[in-house]
């Protein structure tokens, strides 16, 4: 298939793997921040192709994984309000809250719709004027502009039965917090799709302040291999810097229109990340002007106390300190059918990716 097979070419992948091995004089550890990268790396069996000198760690770039249980609990609480329809991406439906999941609530009678975009949620609101539609807005800079556009649509249309429950987060605070906390890595495979929106200036401080290499990568096997080669070259030459491998999608300045949309609709707030705790200015909430489209302002529903599971090490996995295999729940108590932690349920979670593709 055109524009796909070229990026999965066996010979080229092997050639780059050989080159990485040849130029690595010492061991290097790189973190792929984005869950999409984690999934691609495991799905294509990339670890089996890499020389021993390269160690890959999975980072906090799976939106479902880093969100709190309280977010699910609160969404469940909203779903129990009479007349509320929950519109959500499929990924969220099986994520465990403290005591239940949206999937179970749906089976028990809650009105929960799986949508593919916020536009579907707006459509549901237009078709059900007698109901309140709450869209579960989750994701990083990649999906936040979509939510912003949806909120603006509702605002200009005068839609009064539509709301957003935002868990949107932004990547830079987490990437900085990881190194501040002492996670030992030599460089980042920076998230490709986040960067299509933000551009690369958000990574500018990483080489200077922390001595980290940083390559914005695409999601195909050759993209990832080439990015690793670029990182090794940077580090071996002692010149860490920000480079773009994913040139066909990413520019230095990013998507100005999408950035403007986000700026118009959202303001930053302190937000809680699994594994990292509360990070200042790392979350996005609708601005005051759009408060009537914000479920947190408009709806009152008590989610009850939060219950975290003991023994689950999702937090440490998200910080790259441990691997899924280090968790005693992994594969025994915690599986994709009965996930304990969010990293197992999300398609992009490290535990899920390891379980599906690399469980030996």
């Amino acid at each position: 298939m055109k524009y796909m097979d070229e990026y999965r070419d066996h010979e080229r992948v092997l050639r780059i793997a050989g080159e990485i091995g040849k130029i690595s004089a010492r061991k290097w550890a790189f973190m792929e921040v984005c869950g999409g990268h984690t999934m691609a790396i495991q799905k294509f069996g990339i670890p089996s192709l890499l020389p021993e000198s390269i160690r890959l760690l999975s980072g906090p770039g799976c939106p479902v994984c880093v969100s709190s249980r309280r977010y699910i609990d609160q969404a469940v609480a909203y779903s129990r309000i009479n007349g509320v329809i929950i519109a959500t991406f499929g990924d969220l439906i099986r994520v465990p809250g403290s005591f239940t999941t949206l999937e179970k609530e749906k089976a028990a009678g809650a009105d929960i719709h799986i949508v593919y975009s916020i536009l579907d949620a707006l459509k549901i609101a237009r078709e059900h004027r007698d109901k309140q539609v709450v869209f579960l807005a989750i994701g990083f800079e990649t999906t936040a502009p979509g939510t912003a556009a949806g909120i603006l649509n509702a605002y200009h249309e005068g839609l009064t039965n539509f709301m957003v429950y935002s868990s949107h987060k932004i990547m830079p605070p987490a990437m900085a917090a990881l190194v501040e906390e002492g996670v030992r890595i030599d460089g980042y495979i920076a998230p490709g799709h986040v960067s299509t929106i933000t551009g690369t200036s958000i990574y500018r401080h990483l080489p200077g302040r922390y001595g980290l290499g940083c390559v914005v990568s695409g999601f195909e096997p050759l993209d990832i291999m080439q990015s690793l080669l670029m990182l090794v070259k940077q580090m071996e030459s002692g010149k860490p810097r920000v480079e773009i491998q994913y040139r066909r999608a990413v520019t230095e300045e990013g998507n100005m229109k999408a950035k403007a949309l986000m700026e118009e609709v959202f303001e930053t707030r302190d937000d809680w990340w699994r594994g990292l705790g509360v990070l200042p200015d790392s979350g996005l909430a609708p601005r005051e002007k759009y408060r009537y489209l914000n479920a947190e302002v408009m709806l009152v529903a008590d989610p009850g106390p939060v219950r975290e599971d003991h023994g689950c090490i999702c937090g440490e996995i998200l910080r790259g300190i441990k691997e899924p295999r280090d968790c005693r729940l992994f594969g025994s108590v915690c599986t994709p059918v009965n996930p304990v932690g969010a990293c197992m349920v999300s398609n992009e979670g490290a535990c899920h990716a390891y379980y599906r593709y690399n469980r030996s």
């Binding site: 298939m1 796909m4 097979d5 999965r8 070419d9 066996h10 992948v13 092997l14 999409g36 999934m39 495991q42 799905k43 294509f44 069996g45 990339i46 670890p47 089996s48 192709l49 939106p63 479902v64 991406f89 499929g90 990924d91 969220l92 439906i93 099986r94 999937e103 179970k104 749906k106 089976a107 028990a108 799986i114 593919y116 536009l119 579907d120 989750i138 994701g139 990083f140 990649t142 999906t143 799709h193 096997p221 050759l222 599986t335 994709p336 059918v337 398609n347 992009e348 379980y355 599906r356 593709y357 690399n358 469980r359 030996s360």
Partner: protein, 337 residues
């Protein structure tokens, strides 16, 4: 066990298995049922019969490449055929929602008749129920089927003859049915040219069985897709399975859609494909026979039975890596970004 039935319980993966074991097997506890083969094999007066049943629910009931009627006939015919049986008789039971246009019902029934003729089976009994509007989604069809089974094919359903070195084949591309139905739901705001592969395979399978010895196992990769069949096979036989990603036929539009949604075509449903395991010496000849049939033109040898990593399926990926192929857990869910 969960308190309520979840959609995932119907996905054909691990959750479905859990439901079958925890509820159905526990109460029915029948020796033949325990085998969990596509068809039950029953001996009566020295005759061997294969017996199967399947309920069909699909939304929408009409989709590119077929409809619920064609599916209901082909699905049951295929369950019999992959057991090595010659399908003969079908029953058909309809649960119809009040208000369904008679024209729609007739279109579905006409398509059933046509598919039955094609497959050479007779629909000999049936039942009809109508429920209040809203209590069923347009229509549900349940078909049951019986066929005769020659003694030499008895082990095909269970795969007990499988040995390391055997070749694994598939009769054509994977993922077409699941993606065609998904696109027919018009949820994505664009269209595609993907057509369901829904078809009766008994003639193709019959040709292979008649002409070649060495066929040791067959199954149709429906819900849960190719991955579910391979994982079950590895678990059932205790051998390992190794497959080669580039050898698995996937049509470009299906690949494209799967990439877009974050789906793996290996887990997407098929309704007109058979996975066959055959001994090494006969595999190539069987492949040629499959390819000579219109429904098997894209047939391919996709892997082999191995004696390492017992009970697991591993895949050599296109780019040259290795990874495990796991049993699907529940429904595949489209990703966030």
């Amino acid at each position: 066990m969960e308190k309520y039935i979840l959609l995932g319980h119907g996905s054909g993966g691990l959750m479905t298995r859990q439901l079958i074991v925890d509820i159905f097997l526990r109460h029915f506890g029948d020796d033949t049922l325990q085998k969990l083969t596509d068809s039950a094999v029953i001996s009566m007066n020295s005759h061997r019969l294969a017996f199967t049943t399947d309920a069909f629910v699909v939304k929408p009931i009409f989709f590119p490449g077929g409809d619920i009627g064609k599916l209901a006939v082909a699905g049951t015919v295929n369950d019999l055929a992959v057991s090595g049986a010659t399908p003969l008789y079908l029953s058909a039971a309809f649960v119809i929602e009040e208000g369904l246009p008679v024209e729609d019902l007739e279109t579905v029934v006409r398509s059933m008749a046509q598919e039955a003729r094609k497959a050479g089976v007779r629909i000999v009994c049936g039942d009809t129920k109508v429920v209040d509007r809203g209590n069923a989604d347009k229509m549900f069809i349940t078909t049951a089927g019986v066929g005769t089974l020659e003694e030499r094919f008895t082990d095909i359903g269970t795969g007990t003859g499988i040995r390391p070195g055997d070749r694994i084949m598939i009769s054509g591309s994977v993922g077409d049915h699941g993606m065609a139905v998904m696109m027919a739901r018009e949820l994505l705001g664009f269209s595609s040219e993907v057509k369901s592969d829904c078809a009766s395979l008994n003639h193709l399978i019959g040709k292979c069985l008649d002409r070649h010895p060495g066929i040791r196992f067959m199954r149709d990769p429906t819900r849960g897709g190719l991955a579910a069949v391979l994982c079950e096979l590895a678990e059932m036989t205790g051998f390992g399975i190794e497959i080669d990603e580039p050898a698995i036929p996937v049509h470009d539009p299906v690949r494209g859609l799967c990439e877009l949604l974050g789906f793996d075509p290996l887990y997407v449903a098929n309704e007109g494909k058979v996975v066959m395991v055959a001994d090494q010496t006969n595999a190539d000849r069987i492949l040629s026979t499959m390819r000579s049939d219109a429904l098997g033109k894209e047939a391919s040898v996709i892997g082999r039975i191995v004696d390492h990593h017992p009970g697991q399926t591993w895949m050599n990926t296109g780019p040259g890596g290795k990874r495990i192929v796991d049993m699907p857990a529940g429904e595949q869910l489209p990703r966030i970004c």
